[in-house]
Symmetry: C2
Subunit: 114 residues, 2 copies
């Protein structure tokens, strides 16, 4: 039986495209406590540049992870918050991190063969 990408597999690939990008995890984690302005997100993540943060936020918005809220002013205030699905990232993060720990443990037990 030949295997191809069917059933749940496209969902896995779609989610992986979100997860695999640098900074995604930290941006989502930063928004877990509530809505933040662009400058507030930047201030909480060490070393991220404004341009890359802007790109990531647009991608996360398109993918249904983040929602952009415009509070009509004056002055206009823009905030970013996690969607309900965005909050589901935490469970994924924990499953992946737990697996990473298990792999690290496995590598210790079975050193490279001679």
């Amino acid at each position: 039986m030949k295997r191809t990408c069917e059933g749940l597999c496209p969902r896995f690939q779609e989610a992986m495209e979100v997860l695999a990008k640098p900074w995604t995890g930290l941006i989502v984690a930063t928004l877990e406590d509530g809505a933040l302005r662009f400058s507030e997100i930047g201030a909480r993540i060490a070393a991220i540049g404004d341009r890359i943060l802007s790109t990531r936020l647009k991608e996360l918005e398109a993918q249904g992870v983040v929602r952009r809220i415009v509070h009509p002013g004056p002055p206009i205030r823009v905030e970013y918050e996690l969607t309900p699905a965005g909050h589901g990232f935490r469970a994924v993060y924990e499953a992946i991190a737990a697996w990473g720990s298990a792999l690290a443990e496995q590598q210790k037990q079975a050193p490279e063969p001679e």
Copy 2:
């Protein structure tokens, strides 16, 4: 408070490096039922080339996901099987796929703003 990659975060990154590569998911899924020879893995995965399969198997071995078993012959027979940690991939796959479904649902509910 500035956030950087601390605590569980390196484990997340390490696991993501494994997960994000093309074919990894299918190769691991194919080995879930038991040990297989190289040619058997290739025969079960549509469209994967021998060279890329060989590269992925070496990486998965180095990362503690897959174990290479040499049955002394004659003739020598080489098989690949999941390590105990490798079997943990299933839980990760399901968490990620479930999140992918939630994101797809979210995108339907909130179409792109004008």
